[in-house]
């Protein structure tokens, strides 16, 4: 019953002409869906700011040089309700983050899945941005 209700809700969601919902701003205006990036690095800081949180990550390149990246996440209230907390993003934590690069070529990206040291994955992105891989919250759509 629950499954069918969720299925009906999902259909309705699709019925809404694929309209993205939760993003504060347009994904495509700022990020390039044709430029996916996977970053392996160490968290230096999490900014729990509105309208979007920003995760700062130091990424060591093949040449050994460390480059600071900024990863855009969803709104703090959405991330908190999704399971993110202070411990998830402690400075020094080694993570792998998938995202899409900023159109202006700077070291910024729209974040998607973040893989934590224990292998657990958390989705940091804004739902409804239309970013490839964008999806509803865990615990919502099954």
């Amino acid at each position: 019953m629950r499954t069918s209700r969720l299925f009906a809700a999902a259909l309705l969601a699709v019925l809404a002409a694929g309209a993205p919902l939760a993003a504060h701003h347009s994904f495509a205006a700022e990020f390039d869906g044709n430029k996916p990036v996977t970053l392996k690095g160490t968290i230096t800081k999490m900014e729990w700011t509105n309208p979007h949180a920003w995760l700062h990550v130091d990424v060591k390149g093949a040449d050994g040089k460390v480059v600071a990246w900024m990863i855009e996440g969803g709104a703090p209230n959405a991330l908190l309700r999704r399971g993110w907390n202070r411990e998830s993003v402690a400075p020094g934590t080694a993570i792998v983050v998938q995202g899409f690069r900023a159109r202006d070529g700077s070291n910024r990206a729209s974040g998607g899945d973040v893989t934590l040291p224990d292998g657990k994955k958390l989705f940091i992105g804004s739902t409804g941005t239309g970013a490839p891989g964008d999806r509803p919250e865990p615990g919502g759509k099954k």
Partner: protein
Amino acid sequence: MTMRDRRVTLLALAAAIAASALAVLVAQQASPPTTASGAATNWTPTRTPDGQPDIQGTWTNYTSTPFEVPDKSDTPDVYAGDLDGSGRGTGPSSFLTDTSGRQLTKARSLVVDPPSGRVPIMPWAEERRNYKLAHIQDDWVNFTPWERCITRGVPGGIFPAGYGSGYQILQGPGYVAIVYEMIHEARIIPVDGRPHLGASFRLWNGDSRGRWEGNTLVVDITGYNDKGSVATNVATQRVRAIPQSEALHVVERFTRVDENTINYDVAIEDPKVFTAPWKVAMPLHREPDYQLFEYACHEGNRAVPNTLSAGRARDRETRSGGSR
């Protein structure tokens, strides 16, 4: 099959199933006071110390109902700001965001009048919206007030967005206050019979004046500026970023129909923008344990400079003959 083809297929499938299953549900919203299930109610709210019907509490607006009834003429990529037509300005809808375990309203559309479920937008206003969304990288004035962290608008701020969905209503002698979780807005609505401010005042969210008609709080809003929009969130689809004029006139009605439900409906007229008045109806659900988080929108609003810098990078590439 491309992403776009899949979406079209899914749309067709969803339309077929949903149209047959859900046509019944929409009429229930249009005739308050009723319960969420559509049954008539004789429920009487308690009173505040100064005698107002008590509508205080924390309310949420989660829903699975689309804003408008979809139409084949819709261009969701445009509404979502998909600049290069790659289909990546839109994506899977997130109507289920944050909704786990919650009661979701499922109806044909939030727009209940006209009966088509389609907002009667004048062509010039759609063209204006399309221009601004297509040129968002060119000038900050092309952003919606929400993207600029000014306001989600009135009534737009109460239209479902999928997150930041909490509303706290507080009442004091002569006033009703509504705290909007997103974007950290507070409306203070006098219900003491005072007149509107007058035409010399032009406000982003207009000038709200409330009165009680029985158990219904009626809020009359005029005095808007012509800079905002009645809807700013992508969930409002085709209506997002449609401009408002100084002639905008909004009448909201809040009716608490049982312990856990406020029927909210709003009539919108703007003869410079819409060819006829239109109306949205939806329930607000009482959720006492829901905690409103701060949404201090300006503190990290990098979207505006980053979007503009994306545009300048595009300009440099264009000048140098590069392709994107």
